[in-house]
Each structure stands twice: as structure tokens, then as C-alpha cells.
Symmetry: none
Subunit: 131 residues, 4 copies
Amino acid sequence: MWLPIELNEHSAEPLYRQIETQLRALIISGRLAEDTLLPSIRELAQMLKCSVITVRRVYQDLENEGLLRTRQGTGTFVAAVDTDIRDRQRLESVTAAFAAAVEAGLRVKCSEEEMTDIFQRVMKERMGLER
Amino acid sequence: MWLPIELNEHSAEPLYRQIETQLRALIISGRLAEDTLLPSIRELAQMLKCSVITVRRVYQDLENEGLLRTRQGTGTFVAAVDTDIRDRQRLESVTAAFAAAVEAGLRVKCSEEEMTDIFQRVMKERMGLER
Amino acid sequence: MWLPIELNEHSAEPLYRQIETQLRALIISGRLAEDTLLPSIRELAQMLKCSVITVRRVYQDLENEGLLRTRQGTGTFVAAVDTDIRDRQRLESVTAAFAAAVEAGLRVKCSEEEMTDIFQRVMKERMGLER
Amino acid sequence: MWLPIELNEHSAEPLYRQIETQLRALIISGRLAEDTLLPSIRELAQMLKCSVITVRRVYQDLENEGLLRTRQGTGTFVAAVDTDIRDRQRLESVTAAFAAAVEAGLRVKCSEEEMTDIFQRVMKERMGLER
DNA sequence: GTGGTCTAGACCACC
DNA sequence: GTGGTCTAGACCACG
């Protein structure tokens, strides 16, 4: 089994958090369905070329968040997440990101119009890449 | 002299970075004009209720960025910043923030429309607070 | 043959222990009489939707405790349990559980009265369910 | 600084969980007041004769629960806990313990009266020890 | 095979 | 000095 997770060695963001962010996104976006069996700790560690411990931490953190469910000797599964909760989390995470961007803009005295321009430009470029 | 800098004690973001971000924004946005004399390290530390070491680091980092200039025995001043450079930095910092927000949105499968909605809602709420 | 055993897939308690606890209780409480023939390992595994290895372990553990007896090629039976021993075990198991509860209460500074209230409330609710 | 935490080497309960349980109890019972500075990871590890990593895990888990607050370079503090939440948690933890005890009793066919007797006996003995 | 715990030890970031 | 991250490697419990 393969997971679309990419790590940036040089980022200041710790490895375990990069993995958590991306795996969390896969789950709350629904790309990993409920009850999906994830790769074992050892497998994922090998895939991502990081330590078993780092992966274990990821799985455990996400279990504490209620996104995963693990059974010793069996494996780690995507937990049942209430759709409402999932939607709320989805919305919250994106809203927080945009709020941070707007704050950054205001700090350097960007006007509403300037920020709207920037947003649209960024979005347009990014959507171009997707295709 | 007073500076509009607010620290969030509970944030995970380190103190020195919170200060740097806000002070940098004050300079880049032009709210602190060229040649303005900043408070001494000890004064600012007292104002922000943090360690002098932390403030020292801030002044040094921003001096390395070319935004501040220190004259022995006199104090720390806002450096002359080329207008072009300043504009470019302004734009870059905000663009980066929006790019990050769009990435976060894509990770949880937000459509272009959803993100536009969220952006507008966030902006509207934020501008309401300003007034 | 059917046994009133219910497994909680999501509990942190391992499967084999959940089964042991409930089967032991059935024997100690006398609901499974001496010499009763239990289901075969394979049957019980099928009933409980778990691995034969797990059931095998349960039977073996309880045999080691002296609660079960296996006759080659015949099956597994409830062993003769001395009435005194049985009563003592019954009492001990429940006393231990209550001692643990009281400890938990003391740890968070519950008074004797508070704990008595909680006990009575829990008991009342639980007996309501029984009816 | 000293903390009344006792570890049982031979228990099946993992070290980190023993520490968490006791430290959590100290906080939600109010014996450790808000903003109290806890011993550093290294100190507590030395005190408890366990690994730094084990203590770190404890602090981090309790921070995730919202009971602790840590700042790099500064230390780990008892977080402000809403009184309502604290009381609810207190009640819940004890109620759960008693519910488990009652379940154990019912499993071995204890009557309501028997359990009440056992509870009172246990409580009486335990309170005797306290004095 | 799976996950769970604990260890020692290194290096970094922060104050 | 503080906490934060990552590592390798061991051993146990579970199915």
C-alpha cells in the first residue's frame, strides 16, 4: 500500500508533524476511507525513510485525536469519524490558514484589494499546476 | 517610545520570532520610518516582559537582514531600505502566506469556490474588527 | 451451545483478557455448572469472530487456574471447584475492584460521602438497566 | 521540588501511564495549583529513576490533554483548567472506576446488598489507613 | 507478523 | 539551564 506523503528534509517543520499534517488531511478529506488498514509502522518508516519511532508517534498522536484506531497485533485503521466533526475540522483548518495569511497582509499594510489580487493570482497559478 | 507589539504567551511560536515578525512588518510597511531610533534592548525587554537575550537576538537578526543598523553607544536605528526591495519583500511575504493557505485547502480537498468563500468570509470578519 | 460473552472491538483491553474475564465470571458465579462441556476452540473462535489462537490461550490460562479441565479428544469441561475456594475467589475479585475504585477516588480528593453518593448512583443506574 | 509520585516496578501498567495517572490526579484535585512550575524533565527523570524520554512523554501527553503548558527554554507549568471541566473530569474518572467495580460484581452474580457490604468494608478499611 | 514500552544518546532551539 | 526532535535498538504483548 502506498500513501501520497512527501517529506521535506530541509524544512524547519519537524518530520513527525509533516507526516501528521498530510496523513490527517488524507483522512479528513475522505481520501482514506473508514476502516482502511494503514501500512504497519515498520513499512511506513521504510517508505518514508525515517525511524520507526517517528511513525509510531504519528500514529499515536492521530489516535489520540480520534482519527485512527489501533489494535496490538492487528494493525492501525482509519477510525470512524462523525461526518459533522470531519466537516468542521476541514473548515477550521482552512479558515485558520487564511486568517493567518490575512494577518500577514495587514501587518505590512496591505489593503483589502491588494490581498484579493494576491489571493486570486496565487489561486490561479496553483490551479494551473493541478491540471 | 511605544511599539505596537503583542506577544502571545501560549503560542507555540517562539517569543523571538513573534517579535521579529511584528517588528519587521512595522519596518517594511513604513510605519517605522527610516532612521527612527528604536528603544534600547533593556527598555524593549521591559516593555515586552521578556528576557534581554531575546530582544538582543531580534535586533541582531533584523540587522543581519539589513532592516536595522546599530551605532556603537548611540542605539539601534531603522535602516534605509530601497523602495523597490521593500515593495518586493512586502509582496513576497504576503504571497507566501496565501500560497500556504491554498496548499492547506487543497490538502483537504477544498474546491476553488470553497476557498474563495472562506477567504472572503475571513477578510470580511477581519475588516469588521479593524473599524 | 451459546455463551453470553460480548467483546468490545474498540477497547484497549486485549481480546483474550476480555474473554477470560467473562468466562471466568461465568464459572465462578456458577452459571456454568461443574462438568459442563464447553464449545470447541474452533467453535468458540467462530462464535466470537476471533482467532483460534486467542481462544486457545483463554482455555489454557483458565486450565492453569484450575477452572477448566481438558480431556484429550473429548473436549474442555468446567472443573470441580471447591465451594469455599469459589466463594473466596468471588469475594476477592469484587473486593479488589472496589478497592481500585476507592483509590481512584482518593487520588482526586473525593470525600467518603462523595464516593458513597457516586457508588449509589452508579448502582441505581445499573440495576435499572438490568430490569 | 518534590512530587508525591510512587512507581510500581512490577506492575503491568506501563511506567508512563502510572506517572500520568498520578500527576493528572495531583492537578485535577487542585493539589498542584495553576501556574505551578513543575520539575524539569531531567530532574523528574532523576527523581523517579526512569528515562528522560518517559517523563517527556508524560509531560507531552498531559499538555495534549490541556493540563500542562510548556515553553521551550523556560519549563513546564500547570495550565489554567476551567473549574467546570475539572469537576466534570474528577467526577467522570471516579464514576468510571465504580462502574467497573459494579460490573465485576454483577459478573460473579453479586447482589446489590453484597456489593454495598463490600464497598462499605473496603471504604472503612481504607479510611482507617488514612488516619 | 502486528503494535507497546523503555532505554541511551545525540543534536538543536530557546531563554 | 530549559524543552524539542530524531535516532537505533531492545524486549514484551498480541493475534
